[in-house]
């Protein structure tokens, strides 16, 4: 009787140990499967639109067709940089301005650049009401911009060399069209936006655009950059092709349009030298 109960207890202990081991193994599998995911980290210093939930849902749905990929958008530069530090098996989508600032520290290599209307370069402009005084004679007032404060002031300082030491006052708005409308309707003195956005607005509201004038123009810069860390060990070609081929399907095309692009293109030597100079 005593032997029987002893055996029973040993049997239960054995079963419990096996169950625990199995649970541990399952957990290990789940965790390692998670770590096997390749993340695509996205942050754009040029837009402030809060559409991260939609972006994540749409890109995750699209990428899941190709393998264990996950899209991770960020709303703040510091959080993005902290999160991606020392990450190797991942891909970054970021502005060319941001890339130029971090590529050395993060050991990044550019793979693709965004294309909009067949062009891979864009230009930022500074606009104001047609009656506004010349920028050379009057200090700039409140500037509406969809870019981050760091990005906007950095580009403005190169654009307006006279005001390199000036503390620009910036009103951050969600997107370029908001910046243009804000200056057009007097909520800001100036608008900092892309030439492309202004041209688009001209087609919709020509009257408002006629009331605005371009005060200054920035240098040409590449659109969004797809970059890989130097330590990337997964199939680089497969990954880059997956992104590059997005415009070939209606589903992929829809997703890149959410980023304000209509395609991707490889960078040539001249692009790369301009990007990293």
């Amino acid at each position: 009787m005593t032997d029987n109960s002893h055996q029973k207890r040993r049997f239960i202990a054995l079963i419990s140990t096996i169950a625990l081991l199995l649970i541990g193994l399952a957990l290990f599998c789940v965790i390692s499967a998670g770590s096997g995911r390749i993340k695509i980290y996205f942050y754009s210093s040029e837009t402030n639109i809060n559409n991260f939930k939609s972006l994540k849902m749409e890109f995750d749905r699209y990428l899941s067709k190709f393998g264990p990929y996950e899209f991770q958008p960020f709303s703040a530069r510091d959080v993005f940089e902290k999160q991606v530090k020392d990450k190797e098996n991942c891909l970054f989508i970021l502005s060319s301005w941001h890339y130029r600032h971090i590529h050395k520290e993060y050991s990044l290599t550019p793979a693709l650049t965004g294309v909009r209307n067949g062009k891979k370069y864009q230009r930022k402009i500074l606009l104001a009401d047609e009656k506004a005084p010349d920028i050379e004679t009057t200090k700039p007032g409140l500037i509406a911009s969809a870019g981050s404060l760091q990005y906007t002031t950095s580009v403005l300082k190169r654009m307006l060399k006279k005001y390199a030491e000036h503390a620009f006052r910036v009103l951050t708005v969600p997107k370029d069209i908001d910046a243009l409308l804000a200056a057009g309707h007097g909520m800001a003195k100036l608008a900092f936006a892309s030439r492309y956005a202004f041209d688009e607005l001209k087609g919709i509201n020509p009257r408002l655009c006629r009331k605005m004038k371009v005060l200054a123009e920035g240098e040409e810069t590449l659109l969004l950059i797809v970059a890989l860390p130097q330590g990337f060990t997964a199939n680089r070609k497969k990954m880059v092709d997956m992104i590059k081929n997005m415009p070939l399907t209606p589903d992929g095309k829809k997703r890149i349009r959410m980023l304000g692009l209509d395609g991707w293109q490889e960078l040539d030597a001249s692009d790369r030298s301009r990007l990293e100079s």
């Binding site: 006052r169 009103l171 708005v173 997107k175 069209i177 087609g203 349009r257 959410m258």
Partner: protein, 304 residues
């Protein structure tokens, strides 16, 4: 000895003046109810942007007695107070209307009594901005219908019609005097338009039942509804262009800086500078509507 005392006195005066100069302006934020998301977001963005310590009061946080608020306002006596929501504004204006007041998130601010030192961000986008954004999404829109009551929205309608004309868009209106006119007028209007623009109007939106019927009739005829409030997403509105609340907080901070910096603020009550867009892609595909190539990049939320 006298000279020593004089030097000490001058030194003390100098020290006090330096200390008081360093103190900076006193800013207070009064929130009508911080539990309301859009109020909370505006407050967060304001405090982040103004980057100066502020005294914050949440009127929704506890049961305040009027006397308590009055004491608090007089004790603090801020150089500038940012009021979020009508309740906050009414209290600040009642007790410290001689101070600079910046308001936001107030429905129909024109009914408020304003002082020389009142500034604000209105809660409504202007019609021209809305039409611009609707056309950014759907460039093919040419004839937009509006139901409105002459009593409340005649001026608004005329302004919208004028702005639309400049963009090559025709606004076709039906002025209602009684709520029972809504459906018969809508049925007539639907024959002439590409989209219905649902505006905030007490006669048109008198009850939920007729609102549901408006959506139903438009859906039968596959006429998209353009609107201004996120709440209409669940009814089936095609595009909703509303005010972006974080931008409102930043805009209030920008106005506050100008006021405290002694700048002349030309437009005392400004239009909101940021927009928030919801697009019902499911319905757009169902109706066979073609949206702009780059429209997807300006949408905050999709309904699919």
């Amino acid at each position: 000895m006298k000279v020593f005392k004089l030097i000490c006195f001058i030194g003390l005066v100098f020290l006090l003046s330096v200390l008081s100069a360093d103190e900076g302006p006193k800013i207070m934020v009064i929130n009508s109810n911080a539990a309301v998301d859009k109020y909370k977001i505006a407050q967060e963005e304001f405090t982040k942007t103004i980057s100066t310590p502020v005294v914050e009061i949440d009127l929704g946080g506890k049961k305040w007695k009027i006397g308590e608020i009055e004491d608090l306002l007089y004790d603090e006596y801020p150089d500038l107070v940012y009021c979020i929501g009508t309740k906050a504004y009414l209290l600040a204006n009642k007790f410290i209307s001689d101070r600079n007041i910046v308001f936001s998130s107030v429905i129909n601010w024109r009914r408020l009594s304003l002082s020389q030192k009142t500034y604000g961000v209105s809660n409504e986008l202007n019609p021209e901005m809305q039409i611009t954004l609707y056309r950014y999404i759907f460039p093919g829109l040419k004839r937009i219908g509006v139901l409105y009551s002459g009593k409340y929205n005649k001026h608004w309608f005329e302004e919208a019609q004028k702005a639309a004309k400049e963009m090559g868009v025709e606004i076709i209106g039906r002025s209602l005097s009684k709520r029972r006119d809504t459906l018969p007028e809508l049925k007539e209007l639907l024959k002439e338009i590409d989209a219905l623009w649902l505006i905030s109007d007490p006669v048109v939106m008198s009850d939920k039942k007729s609102l549901i019927e408006v959506f139903k009739q438009c859906d039968i005829k596959k006429i998209p509804i353009l609107s201004y409030h996120n709440a209409f997403a669940e009814y089936g509105a095609m595009v909703i262009v509303s005010v972006d609340n974080p931008t409102t907080g930043r805009q209030a901070a920008a106005i506050s800086r100008e006021v405290l910096g002694g700048d002349v603020v030309k437009k005392k009550v400004q239009l909101p500078a940021g927009s928030h867009i919801i697009l019902n892609l499911k319905k757009a595909n169902e109706y066979g509507l073609k949206y702009g190539e780059m429209a997807l990049s300006v949408v905050n939320r999709f309904i699919e």
